[in-house]
Symmetry: C2
Subunit: 419 residues, 2 copies
């Protein structure tokens, strides 16, 4: 039963649930840069470019909304540059909705992957104003240079090793400068390697940061002439007690929407559980985003549990590795939904890369040509494959929306995943 | 004074000189895949792809005709694959004119760059049917594995070192399979390192190969349902006597058009002389192509001397190295017609990459965004810069055609090159 259109917290945004099917819903998210029909896939444009595509390609494949990474853009070209150029929409000439993450995920994943000697750190410290609380290592982070305090995080650039200081307030400020429609609150992102105790501490810190993010958000103004919304992030790893606790805490805060972040466990079943402990307990009338998930089976599972939007690098990254997304190849199911265009069997194959696909690539080129372009390392290969994979994701989401409206979601799920 | 439309040797092709200005001319080349207004720049798509662009990009920037490389396509994906897929036009979905070279240039340049031990050569010989004349080294070729005989050439693949045998007959056959509109006769391409005597021998071999190319061309049929034309190639290095001799010999053969190949000397003046010894002595009513030339000053010099078409990798290669072609930057002349978009001065520059340029890139994006894309190694950078540079070349050629028609060629030349 539709709930009717609901204003989100921030004027200029609204979310309407149009249809329901169990916990799943079809919705419409209004933003200052247009509407997003949900469930929707959010294409990732890490460095203010969806790799190999121009904005008109994205429009052509039906992309409604893209995701850019605060960590990367903070380091290069720098938020002040993007702000001077009029924000991300003007900078990259994408005039539809944009989300930015808070930088948390990359700070903890990329920052943690840089290993250097301690002496070298010490030599850089003196020039910078230290945080109010002495930095300490995350216990499970090994030689990581990420140093978390309640105040914020020291991390190193993966580009040049330079040290940087991030806080919830800085993350809001940087995202104000970048100028996306939807911002995320700064969180501490934990991995399956973190134990219960550390995950609990990180979650509690994320909760304190959520309050500070909201405060910084309300104390600041958009810089680019349109309102911005702020989503909160639920953490707690794959621990039921923590996820339930985090959901209770984050859900009652006046965020415009909610994201599920951090570790979703090690198995599909772990992920389903995390979604069950979290999503149904978030406010029904606000949008829910699942961070970093984009496999076909995971999307069906998450939609069924009430998720509205997804971002994931997999479809675009796979494309650059010659992987085309498809349900079947020549009548045979593809369990991993992937065709490797470098495979020698395609060398002389005149057929469309994915027969029956209406994407600009499959309507125009043969398997033999795509195979040749990948073998010859031609730049056009990456674009043609990315066009196909994003078209595939957007088409899948459209099929899911239609099936939810027609009450045939389970039939569609069986069609894709088997019974 | 126009000469009126002239049929070329092959039905389906015609060349009409519309206007003259000294030795320069404005023309219209008719091919089975449409017309080419000359003087024209031929974009290079070595491996059946103009690097980073799709055919619709090429149309958008005004590209009339493209050039593909027989050597590369022979090695990968193989001419039989391109033939099975319906020829280059169908393979790469470019429905406008295409030229292919004969493979000669790459055989002698890429083939010569692979150096291996002599023992290793000997061990490979026995398995293959040797040419009728024993192979001998080109005297100035050093340790090259290119082995030229009057019969043909042994060369090695730059991809895997495998040995291959090319003759004028094979070059025609391969180009029949590739299915371009315009083919080139197989030639021995000499460099400025070759002395007079070797250049003379190579030229004479090229002349014998020209006769064999014509014979093979007439003894074979097009494979893809439309006629193909064959151009002859004038050789002779930078030696006046040889160039004049080669022009006399090649010009009297029933080729559809003529290309100037081989060494054009070491200086601009050398090139002007070679053009003066050759171009005006070619049949007036047939098209003339200058191989591998594409710098602005060279194009003005060659057009003035009667050249109709040019191919060159420079504009597209430069684009991939962040170089945008322009006459001026912010009012200041650019002597090398090049802007380096990686330059730090563009980091915050909101202006169009080349102000006043009507190309899709300059109409849409800022210098700051292009600078960011190049610094971040984003794939989109290569495409946006290539779009600009090919638009620039096509626009330059259009300005040259208009100036020739209006009698203002010298004014235009001064505008571009100074007095």
């Amino acid at each position: 039963m539709p709930t009717g259109q609901e204003k989100m917290e921030t004027p200029g945004f609204a979310f309407e649930v149009l249809h329901r099917h169990g916990n799943a819903r079809v919705g419409r998210l209004q933003t200052p840069h247009g509407e997003v029909e949900t469930p929707a896939f959010v294409a990732v444009g890490t460095q203010a470019s969806v790799k190999s595509l121009a904005p008109d390609d994205l429009e052509q494949v039906g992309t409604q909304i893209i995701f850019a990474n605060t960590y990367h853009l903070y380091l290069r070209p720098g938020p002040e540059v993007v702000a001077e150029l009029g924000g991300l929409h003007a900078f990259m000439q994408w005039h539809h909705p944009i989300m930015t993450d808070s930088g948390g995920f990359q700070v903890f994943s990329l920052g943690a992957s840089i290993e250097q000697g301690v002496g070298k750190i010490a030599s850089i410290f003196p020039d910078e104003s230290p945080p109010s609380v002495p930095p300490r290592r995350k216990p499970t982070q090994g030689r990581s240079l990420v140093q978390v305090t309640d105040e914020g995080v020291w991390f190193r650039s993966h580009l040049d090793g330079s040290r940087h200081w991030f806080t919830p307030e800085i993350a809001v400020q940087v995202q104000r400068q970048l100028g996306a429609d939807i911002l995320l609150a700064f969180d501490e992102c934990t991995s399956p390697l973190h134990d219960y105790e550390y995950t609990r501490q990180a979650m509690e810190r994320t909760h304190r940061w959520a309050l500070r993010s909201l405060e910084a958000f309300h104390a600041s103004e958009p810089l680019h002439g349109f309102p911005q919304a702020l989503y909160g992030i639920v953490q707690g790893g794959a621990y039921e007690e923590l996820r339930r606790q985090s959901t209770r805490f984050i859900a009652q805060l006046p965020f415009d929407g909610f994201a599920i972040g951090g570790s979703l466990g090690r198995t599909k079943a772990d992920m389903w559980h995390v979604l069950e402990w979290t999503v149904p307990h978030l406010p029904d009338h606000k949008p829910r985003h699942l961070l970093g998930i984009g496999e076909v089976a995971d999307i069906f599972a998450a939609v069924a549990r009430g998720v509205d939007t997804f971002d994931c690098v997999a479809p675009t990254r796979m494309a650059r590795n010659a992987g085309l997304l498809a349900r079947t190849l020549d009548g045979k199911p593809l369990p991993r939904f992937r065709i490797n265009m470098r495979n020698a069997r395609f060398r002389r194959d005149p057929r469309a890369p994915v027969e029956g696909c209406d994407c600009p690539t499959c309507r125009t080129y043969s398997r033999a040509y795509l195979h040749h372009l990948f073998r010859a390392n031609e730049l056009l290969a990456y674009r043609l494959a990315t066009v196909h994979n994003l078209f595939f994701m957007n088409r899948l989401m459209a099929e899911i929306r239609a099936a939810l409206q027609e009450g045939t979601f389970d039939v569609l799920k069986t069609h894709w995943l088997g019974s």
